[in-house]
């Protein structure tokens, strides 16, 4: 096959890719990318996992070590079929936080720390540079394969020249389509589509070679299996024996790498337009890997069988078809390899350039020119930084390629890069699943892992006396035996790769955990940690951190946002936010939610740490710290406690007030009663006094008839007697109330006492005949009490009945019963019942019922009778109460059978 045709077809292919990317970008700018960003394209774009290392190197790997090459694809398969564990969360977080790269994710998780961003960027650059060099090498090698075949002397003069031209072309493509837009969330539609096309090309190419090998050369699958079995004879081919340690270790390593490799992270998380695509990719991507590796072993076996012994096994995919005269197939295979290499370099370069510009160049620039955040065109600055980074990354790769001479086996470099990037794994997994992971732990773990990886794997890969002297290999660093690069801590017999992976990741994870446990996270870290670990909680989580109202003017923020997001985007974002807040115009209030959203949007362009710093420059460092929150919470708790106390006191106060009110009411009542008493008593005293003074004045006049004098004298006497009686009653009452009464206790028969009382009261309204009903046997009781006082009570009650009973046939029933050492005597007449509201009053002094039925005053009593009764009974240790529920007025007298001590 003529070399110039190869170069021509290669150029046509590249032009085709440019065209695809260009058309897609054009469509994207008009918003018509729907079908181009389907799950299928997403899955195909993930295929950048299969680099030239897969395309060429896997066959070489299989030829050297048998089945072990499968581990590189089995690890990612496990990660993807287990997407529900890690990938789903990563993609969700990536979308929520507008993550631009894996360095950005780590930096954002651990408090938007730029230090971490720099560390991860450094690891990524160091680990990826050889990998990029590897791709350049594979392209120039594949050109070399064809060139050596050329009889016309159109030989490739210089491998380095090929690599240079390829690198320049890739840089142009990447800059053209990778830095068109700034916000990573606007995504690189053109590039992703071009990669998808390349994915199809490389799959088709490898399948075509495989089918040709199995059916064209070997003669069918069964024959192929026989050939494989022949080759696998351990006696002939000891390297093909499966080593269990390497087998499981490499599965783990490739699983870690598929998560951590910058380019994988770029297409998997950053370029993901729809989380739903991940579900499709969970089986479609493993299927792609399956198809890619299906024919690798047959190609390797047939290659070893057919080709001469000195053939480079890494180039079997090309040399095997060529040797069989299949120029077209070889051409296809060449394009497949070319696709694998270019797509990997493009995406890796974009990912690394994003990290470099966001975490190294931009912070440096902002640090060097603090005013830049406030003025100047940042958009241009960021894009320039990114373009410079792209060129720098490719230049590094090219330099490494030239320096290393491109001699090392492809697979070895790939695995070294995997192990390097796997150092990010502990911080990444810890960051998204463990709230306690801190920045200190992450930095310490990453640095430890990176150093151990560099010392045990990366630097030794340059060979004895390459970077590390043979003497150190022999006897360890500083002559310490346990620090030998291939036998750390005396683990002499481990496989070097396994040894490095084991120690670097073990120490990395250990230091990470220990550092996290021993350190205390900053407030921003804690908030970010919560937002990451609880990514599936409401999005509101992220808004809790916030910017409080600082000194920033919305206008200044709009100015800054315009310079990063572009004028129209920024203005429409501000307008939307203002509308959402219910404000007209373009300037929303600086709510914490708005600022957090703006920060995330800016982070999509310049990375979380830079965005945070830029907003901080405007808002001032007025983030709410957790200490602030604690202080606020404390205050709130104090206020709550205080208010509880107040409430308690208020309760007490109102209780006291109620008591006061009650007392006041009582006092008022008492005062009223006292007034009433005074007015009553003066009235009672005045009435007889008036008649006495009137009649005595008449008597002083002479010439009165004797009859008149006698008459008037009698009236005066009666009134004086009434006055005396009243005064006696009052005196009696006051004596009784003071409790200073002298009781003369003795035995007395109850029946006799009632007889006495009836006799004494018979003078009251003698005109009426009362039917007195008594039960004599029950009255035959001797009481120990003051008989005279008790009789006085009886007289009063019976007199009342006589006076006020309004029945036509008045009946008074006197019932006596004994209850638990007490005597109960009821006086029940058949008159009108005393109304309920009056029942409480009748025992008060001067209380005379005003209702007509029991018309008071008719008997001329002063209304002291019942009051005296109550006091007497109290002195006798008993009570007198109104007994409701009888068919008439009824009073119940209750007193003890034996009154032992005179009640005082």
């Amino acid at each position: 096959m003529p070399f110039n045709i190869l170069v021509l077809s290669c150029l046509i292919y590249v032009f085709f890719l440019f065209l695809v990317a260009f058309v897609v970008e054009r469509r994207a700018s008009r918003g018509g990318v729907g079908f181009l960003r389907s799950p299928m394209v997403y899955t195909l774009s993930l295929s950048i996992y299969c680099t030239a290392w897969t395309f060429y190197g896997a066959v070489g790997y299989a030829a050297r070590s048998g089945l072990e090459f499968l581990t590189i694809y089995l690890g990612p398969t496990l990660v993807f079929v287990g997407w529900w564990w890690i990938l789903r969360k990563l993609v969700r977080i990536g979308r929520q936080q507008r993550v631009t790269s894996i360095a950005d994710l780590i930096s954002s998780r651990f408090g938007k720390s730029n230090l971490l961003g720099v560390v991860v960027t450094l690891i990524a650059v160091v680990a990826s540079t050889p990998y990029i060099a590897l791709q350049l090498q594979s392209i120039s090698l594949s050109f070399g394969v064809f060139a050596s075949d050329t009889p016309t002397g159109w030989a490739l003069p210089n491998r380095d020249a090929t690599a240079l031209w390829v690198a320049v072309g890739l840089a142009a493509f990447t800059i053209l389509f990778g830095t068109r837009t700034l916000d990573a969330k606007e995504q690189h539609h053109g590039i992703v589509t071009a990669i998808a096309v390349e994915a199809v090309v490389k799959l088709v190419a490898l399948l075509a070679v495989g089918i040709f090998v199995v059916w064209g050369l070997a003669g069918g699958p069964a024959a192929m299996l026989d050939k494989i079995a022949d080759f696998a004879d351990p006696a002939q081919n000891p390297a093909w024996v499966l080593q269990p340690g390497r087998w499981s270790g490499l599965i783990f390593l490739s699983a870690a790498a598929v998560i951590c490799l910058p380019r994988m992270f770029q297409v998997m998380v950053v370029e993901c337009v729809d989380e739903g695509h991940l579900a499709r990719a969970s089986w479609a991507f493993p299927l792609y890997l399956f198809l890619m590796s299906l024919f690798i072993l047959p190609i390797a076996v047939m290659g070893l069988e057919v080709m001469p012994a000195d053939t480079n096994p890494d180039m079997l995919v090309l040399t095997l078809p060529l040797s069989q005269g299949q120029g077209g197939l070889a051409m296809l295979a060449f394009l497949g390899g070319f696709s694998s290499a270019t797509s990997m370099v493009i995406v890796e370069t974009i990912a690394l350039a994003t990290m470099l510009s966001n975490h190294v160049l931009m912070p440096l620039w902002l640090w060097a020119r603090p005013g830049a955040a406030l003025s100047g065109d940042l958009r241009g600055g960021v894009l320039t930084a990114r373009r410079v980074s792209i060129v720098a990354v490719l230049a590094l790769g090219l330099a490494y390629f030239r320096l290393s001479g491109g001699s090392a086996a492809l697979a070895a470099i790939g695995l070294i890069a995997f192990a390097g990037m796997a150092q990010v794994l502990p911080a990444l997994i810890g960051g998204i699943f463990w709230r306690g992971a801190t920045k200190t732990g992450a930095v310490a773990g990453l640095v430890t892992g990176f150093v151990v990886w560099g010392y045990t794997l990366f630097l030794p890969s340059f060979g004895l006396d390459g970077v590390i002297s043979a003497q150190v290999f022999q006897s360890g660093l500083f002559g310490l035996e346990w620090l030998r690069p291939r036998a750390l801590f005396g683990t002499t017999d481990m496989d070097p790769l396994l040894h490095s992976i084991f120690w670097s990741l073990a120490l990395n994870a250990g230091v990470f955990c220990a550092g996290s446990i021993l350190s205390f996270p900053s407030p921003v870290e804690r908030v970010q940690g919560a937002a990451f670990v609880n990514a599936f909680d409401a999005e509101a989580m992220a808004d809790r951190l916030g910017w409080t109202h600082g000194q920033a003017e919305p206008e200044a923020l709009l100015n800054m946002a315009q310079r990063i997001l572009g004028q129209n985007t920024a203005i429409s974002y501000f307008e939307t936010q203002a509308t959402a807040q219910g404000k007209a115009g373009f300037l929303p209030d600086l709510t914490p939610g708005f600022l957090a959203g703006l920060e995330r949007r800016l982070a999509g362009s310049v990375g979380a740490a830079t965005a945070h710093a830029m907003i901080a420059q405007h808002v001032g460092r007025t983030t709410v710290t957790v200490e602030d929150l604690m202080a606020v919470a404390n205050e709130a708790a104090q206020i709550k406690e205080y208010s509880t106390q107040l409430e308690h006191q208020q309760d007490q106060l109102s209780r006291t007030a109620r008591q006061f009110r009650e007392v006041n009411e009582k006092l008022t009542q008492l005062s009223v009663q006292k007034d009433a008493f005074l007015s009553q008593i003066s009235h009672e005293l005045r009435t007889p006094m008036t008649s006495i003074s009137a009649f005595s004045e008449i008597l002083t006049e002479a010439d009165l008839p004797t009859a008149k004098v006698a008459d008037y004298g009698r009236i005066i006497h009666d009134e004086a007697a009434r006055l005396t009686r009243l005064l006696d009653d009052l005196l009696d009452l006051s004596v009784l109330e003071n409790g200073s009464v002298q009781l003369t206790l003795g035995l007395a028969n109850l029946g006799q006492m009632i007889d006495r009382a009836l006799a004494a009261s018979s003078q009251i309204r003698p005109d009426r005949t009362f039917d007195i009903q008594r039960n004599y046997p029950s009255e035959a009781i001797f009481l120990r009490t003051d008989a005279d006082r008790l009789v006085q009570v009886f007289i009063n009650l019976i007199s009342n009945a006589r006076k006020y009973c309004d029945a036509a046939q008045p009946v008074l029933r006197i019932a006596v019963q004994q209850k638990a050492g007490r005597i109960v005597i009821d006086f029940i007449d058949n008159g009108t019942v005393i109304s309920k509201q009056s029942q409480g009053l009748i025992f008060e002094k001067f209380a005379r019922l005003t209702d007509h039925s029991r018309g008071g005053g008719a008997g001329g009593g002063a209304g002291l009778g019942l009051a005296i009764c109550r006091e007497v009974m109290a002195n006798l240790g008993g009570t007198v109460t109104y007994l409701p529920g009888q068919k008439g007025a009824a009073f119940r007298v209750m007193l003890p059978l034996r009154l032992e001590n005179p009640a005082v």
């Binding site: 048998g66 089945l67 499968l70 089995l74 398969t77 496990l78 990660v79 993807f80 079929v81 287990g82 997407w83 529900w84 564990w85 789903r88 299996l225 026989d226 494989i228 079995a229 022949d230 080759f231 696998a232 004879d233 351990p234 006696a235 093909w240 024996v241 499966l242 080593q243 269990p244 087998w247 499981s248 599965i251 989380e275 739903g276 579900a279 499709r280 969970s282 089986w283 479609a284 493993p286 299927l287 399956f290 299906l294 072993l297 599936f536 909680d537």
Partner: protein, 95 residues
Amino acid sequence: MRRPTAPLFLARAVYRKRRLRDAARLVPVLGVFLLLIPGLWAGDTPRSPTAWAQDWVYLLGVWAGLIGVAAILAPGLAASDIDTDTGADEDEKAR
């Protein structure tokens, strides 16, 4: 931090969704188990060449099986993820 209002028992559809997620979580565990078996076989005694070729077929078979199971589970998982996102949270909180 379990929500006090989280229901103790679930409706049939939600229950099925959660078991589907459990299945999705178990697939990689099963995969690790099946893929590490050839490593256990390797042992000290060298295996016959035929068995070695069979190992290769076995691995391809396990691989295809994993892809098949993932393909069967994926549509249901994607749907449940969109439909009841909050349900997923409770599910995970309960763990």
